[in-house]
């Protein structure tokens, strides 16, 4: 598109857009800045923006006081574990539905999606009671399984839309070329499917990392991931702004970076392919 745009117009919109963007981003920026302040500077009047004594003390203290690292590891294990487990179950299913669709495939897909529409409170009580009986409350295994199941429909859907984009003629070509099913999977399908699987994985890690209904209800301390851990700052402890900021920054930084890499996939994953 080679449209003529006057320079003035471009500058005006640039300023406007950047203004809005910075406004939206500001709470995050403020949190990151505050995490490097002393508690005194954090609540200073007037607020100190850049000119304060930069310190890493908050990060050290958060770790020392509340064993931050173990909660961070819980988050990592739960997010990665539920994603890996989900992919393990979803890849064959999405695969089969994309390449061997039957009469029921569409119905099965829609049914899977409908389970995602069910509000969590609808099943909270039985799950809670069952977990209590089975000793799964406040266990990483328990949350991991729940998050895997919760995101399974999204994983299957995303993979399905990616797999469906692999042209059928390529698979036929490989069959003509004498590839056995195993070789077809190894040399043709897998390499072509990897980008789709990678983006699905990325989005799912983000969703699992930030999930805050089941993690809050099913974990308390031992298995608590960062969502639950940060929630504990809602008590007066939260008034230590600098420490709250340090804990928050560490909790959101990895996902923020991953999220920026997966913007496109986000749209596809969260709209179930309805908007591309």
């Amino acid at each position: 598109m080679a449209r003529k745009v006057t320079n003035t117009r471009k500058w005006i919109f640039t300023c406007l857009a950047w203004g809005v963007a910075l406004l939206i981003f500001f709470p995050i920026l403020w949190t990151i800045l505050t995490s490097f302040k002393t508690e005194g500077d954090a609540v200073a009047t007037p607020p100190k923006f850049l000119f304060f004594d930069w310190t890493l003390a908050n990060y050290r203290e958060v770790q020392a006081r509340s064993d931050y690292f173990s909660h961070f590891m819980n988050s990592v294990i739960i997010a990665l574990g539920s994603t890996a487990l989900g992919l393990l179950v979803a890849i064959p299913a999405a695969w089969a539905m994309a390449f061997q669709p039957g009469k029921q495939t569409k119905n099965v897909l829609m049914w899977m999606l409908s389970t995602k529409m069910m509000p969590a409170v609808g099943v909270l009580i039985p799950i809670y009671i069952l977990f209590q009986r089975m000793g799964l409350l406040d266990s990483r295994t328990g949350v991991l399984i729940v998050l895997m199941l919760m995101n399974l429909p999204i994983i299957i859907w995303m993979l399905y839309t990616y797999f469906r984009e692999i042209p059928g003629e390529i698979l036929e070509a490989s069959r003509m070329d004498g590839a056995s099913l195993w070789n077809e999977i190894r040399y043709v399908l897998t390499p072509m499917a990897v980008p789709g699987i990678a983006s699905t994985m990325l989005l799912n890690i983000i969703l699992a990392w930030n999930e805050a209904f089941w993690t809050l209800n099913l974990t308390t301390s031992r298995a608590a991931p960062l969502t639950t851990f940060i929630a504990s700052y809602s008590s007066p402890e939260g008034l230590f702004y600098a420490k709250l900021s340090a804990a928050s920054t560490m909790a959101i930084a990895p996902i923020l970076i991953m999220g920026w890499f997966s913007q496109k996939q986000l749209v596809r994953g969260l709209t179930f392919g309805a908007v591309k």
Partner: protein, 289 residues
């Protein structure tokens, strides 16, 4: 295109997912439905008995239920209005030819990746706190009385916090949709003498219609389950002022241990969500053909 052998293999590959999702949703949902007809309190074991619609009657006659239903509708409606209108405006703004478009996108999308507990706490303490919060400081700088947002306007505050999280989502989807608008179509409209406003209402909006519907439906599904933001900021209070249906079920179940009553509430929430889901599913179903 498939031989019989391939088809049965395909079934085998789909089976684990189907079984797992069945166990995950349908079985617990059935249990919730069963509990909702029982008098069942975890604090009084052994007292379980069938009460028919008793729990529903109890739940529906509880003033807290009607308030929470009202709160839920106001919250979801408010957030939808802010994110859809704001999202369209921001998406159009970013879609203009500007310098550093990629960076603007990155900044705008960021709040979506912040975990709910973090965003709720950051807003609660560092912005909305009347003493040390930034908003309070700003209003003091202008000589005004600082507002204690979460006690004076609790539901509004929750709406602001959650809108901040979902605005990026709406923006991103609208932006994706805008970018798929055929530029030749726009140029044709320009040739036909359509002004900016006419192009917006006759071309852009209809083109985005699908995206707007999808955003509304998907956000509704997620917003009906907003939980962490309420838990860490207001705990549903003051009084019932920020108690939503989801939060009410949670307090009923895990704070008062009334399994029967909470289950009835859960079923009501499921019915509400399904009304929305019905429309969403029909839209998505069309993309499959």
């Amino acid at each position: 295109m498939a031989t019989l052998h391939q088809r049965s293999l395909a079934r085998l590959m789909v089976a684990p997912s189907v079984v797992l999702l069945f166990l995950w949703m349908i079985v617990p949902l059935g249990m919730t439905l069963w509990f909702s007809f029982q008098r069942y309190n975890l604090l009084m074991p052994g007292m379980e008995e069938f009460t028919g619609l008793g729990n529903y009657r109890y739940f529906l006659s509880d003033p807290g239920f009607w308030i929470s239903l009202q709160n839920t509708l106001i919250m979801v409606g408010g957030i939808l209005a802010i994110t859809v209108i704001g999202g369209i405006a921001i998406a159009i703004l970013i879609d203009q030819p500007i310098f550093g478009q990629g960076y603007v996108r990155i900044l705008v999308i960021a709040p979506f990746f912040v975990m709910p507990t973090v965003s709720a706490l950051v807003w609660k303490n560092m912005f909305m706190n009347p003493v040390n919060g930034l908003l309070g400081q700003v209003s003091r700088a202008f000589g005004a009385q600082p507002v204690d947002w979460l006690s004076q306007y609790p539901l509004f505050s929750i709406i602001v916090i959650v809108s901040w999280q979902w605005l990026p989502f709406a923006t991103l989807i609208f932006l994706t949709s805008l970018q798929s608008l055929d530029s030749e179509q726009v140029e044709a409209a320009e040739m036909d003498g359509a002004g900016i406003w006419a192009r917006f209402t006759n071309l852009t909006l209809p083109h985005m219609g699908r995206a707007i519907t999808v955003v509304i439906l998907i956000e509704t599904i997620f917003l009906l389950s907003v939980f962490a933001e309420i838990l860490v900021t207001t705990n549903g209070g003051p009084g019932y002022q920020t108690t939503t249906l989801t939060y009410l079920v949670y307090t009923q179940a895990l704070l008062q241990f009334d399994v029967g009553g909470a289950s009835a509430g859960g079923i009501i929430a499921v019915i509400l969500a399904n009304i929305v889901a019905f429309f969403l599913m029909r839209m998505i179903g069309k993309t499959l053909d």
